[in-house]
Amino acid sequence: MSKIIRINTKERTFNYSEPDEEFAGLGGRAFTSRMILKEVPATCHPLGKHNKLVFAPGLLAGTGAANSGRLSAGAKSPLTEGIKESNAGGLAAQKIARMGIKAIVLEDKPEDDKWFNIVIKKDSVEIIPAGDLKGKGTNETISKLWEKYGKTGVICVGQAGEQLMISASMQLADPNGRPGRAFGRGGLGAVLGSKNIKAIIIDDAGSKRVDIADKDAFTAANKIWSKALTDHPVSGEGLPAFGTAVLVNIINEAGAFPTKNFREGRFEHAHDISGEKLSETITERKGVVSEGCHPGCVIKCSQVYNDKDGNYLTSGFEYETIWAFGANTMIKDLDDIAVLDKLSDEYGLDTIEMGVTIGIAMEAGVVPWGDGKKAIELLEEVGKGSALGKIIGNGAAFTGKAYGIDRVPVVKRQSLPAYDPRATKGVGVTYATSPQGADHTAGYAVAPNILSVGGSEDPLKKGNNVEVSRNLQIATAAIDAAGLCLFVAFPVLDHENGVQLIVDLLNAQLGASLTTDDVVALGTQILKDEIEFNKLAGFTKKDDKLPEMFDDSFEPHNVKWGYTEQELSKTLDFK
């Protein structure tokens, strides 16, 4: 992987360059965050000409390593106004890597209102008019592009990104040509929209697999790696059978399932929206219980959900989405939740942000709590581009301001996901301190002893949760840089050589001699870059906190948040 493609969206020109030494060894989130820090003025307007949108496959992308097909996208976020890295599956990462492309960088901004597509092939880049795709949803966009270009990687925006809404996602084609995968968080769809780009088409025809320095060592390491993933009860059985929604019942039982805009920790109807129920419904309606979001995924946590008549409704239905549109809004009908997921994918919207935003609209009395049909009508306003739709599409913080609501669960203007911070304090520390804004995946991966975390933590008490959060954030950043799906963290935690297995793959691929310490150092460096950008953008320690609604006591465990600014400031206090 050696070339960088820079595309000037104002002039509609491009050039190839070689990465300099600073960037040569970086991939995924390590690459995007470093480039945003170095090249984007931190105080720029995120939708202005100085912001850049950077796509970088992880270091292992394009190899045969199991679960290595993840792509990072980075920019200054229009939602948080800080740095953003968002990570997604789909077909694009492997194809980009196979063409020897280290990164695609979109720069500048057009002065006219013409919309274009970018077509990237092995030896060419074309910037061509988007034609009648403008105004279309992502489903139709991907279908039309597949008709024209075949089974290519597609990254595109829907109506939300076109309208520069700050909750807009970029959707990616999954292996069935559906917009089931997303760069969800942080409004990166609005950044692509601000550059008047409807879609990026990645056609790797004629490319080979990426070069591997030591093929035998790589094959041997990948064999052990794949086996570690498929042998583990989570990645080998739990996720394929129930998807991530297996967590609905468990987090609910733990009393940490935020219900009615984070008022309490258990939802009366959790069973109706659980992973078990989801799996049963999918089977009854002849959907697909388990499929991968990219070729080479051996875990396959994604699925195809059909409607009552057995017709395709949505795919990639995740725990966080089911929570956001379910317990958080008190909607208990899985079909209504599936329609809300489908509309979010279609318009190109972050499902977590939209679920929390609908909760705010319910606080304001715009729609009644628990009314799925009315919630669907509300989300349809975003597609129509009505004034109400523009409020909703700009997310929870904006909607809270519009309606004078003081109960708005956001950190750095990004909505909190599906784990109440009072009852899972380790996750709460990550929400408060991650440079990404409230984000559960920022502290998802666990590699305890490598990072010197011992013992389990009481989720209800402060204990060592600051240290746990720090180490999880470091490990996650490193996994994002490798380009691995985060769910590999489950077996990596339990396998006696988990992290070493990843290091072995990297060493065989790159001909390097990295150690697990290097991986920790890489994760730490990513966080340092991101914190530095946010500091330059004007963020201070005062921004690393949860809103005051979390000072209230939380049932059933009757716990409060309770962290001070000083306690939290130790989390990512790297020297």
Binding site: I250, A254, E457, P459, V492, L493, D494
Partner: protein
């Protein structure tokens, strides 16, 4: 006899159904001085197929003696790892 609210999740639901037991939000009576492990055995479940028990919403002990009005839930292996640590289900195993 203590009366409890019982749940079992994930793969355990199918197993319980096959053994003739309900699994979701069931109220059941258990004998005095019954531990969690006794409860598991009384439902013909293999204790090795259960990774954790939640007692009143907190990761608990298999030796715990069940009390009246307890809320008990069983979880098989397969709960995503970070959550096991963050929910206190089990310690982070050493990675060598």
């Amino acid at each position: 006899m203590p009366e409890i609210l019982f749940n079992a999740f994930s793969f355990l639901q199918k197993k319980l159904k096959a053994n003739g037991f309900d699994h979701s939000n069931v109220t059941i009576d258990v004998p005095e001085n019954h531990s969690v492990i006794d409860l598991i055995k009384s439902m013909d479940l293999d204790p090795d197929g259960i990774e954790a028990v939640f007692v009143n919403g907190k990761a608990g002990d298999f030796e715990y003696i069940i009390k009246d009005k307890d809320r008990i839930a069983l979880i098989p292996p397969g709960t995503p790892g970070p959550h096991r640590l963050l929910l206190g289900i089990r310690p982070g195993d050493p990675i060598k």
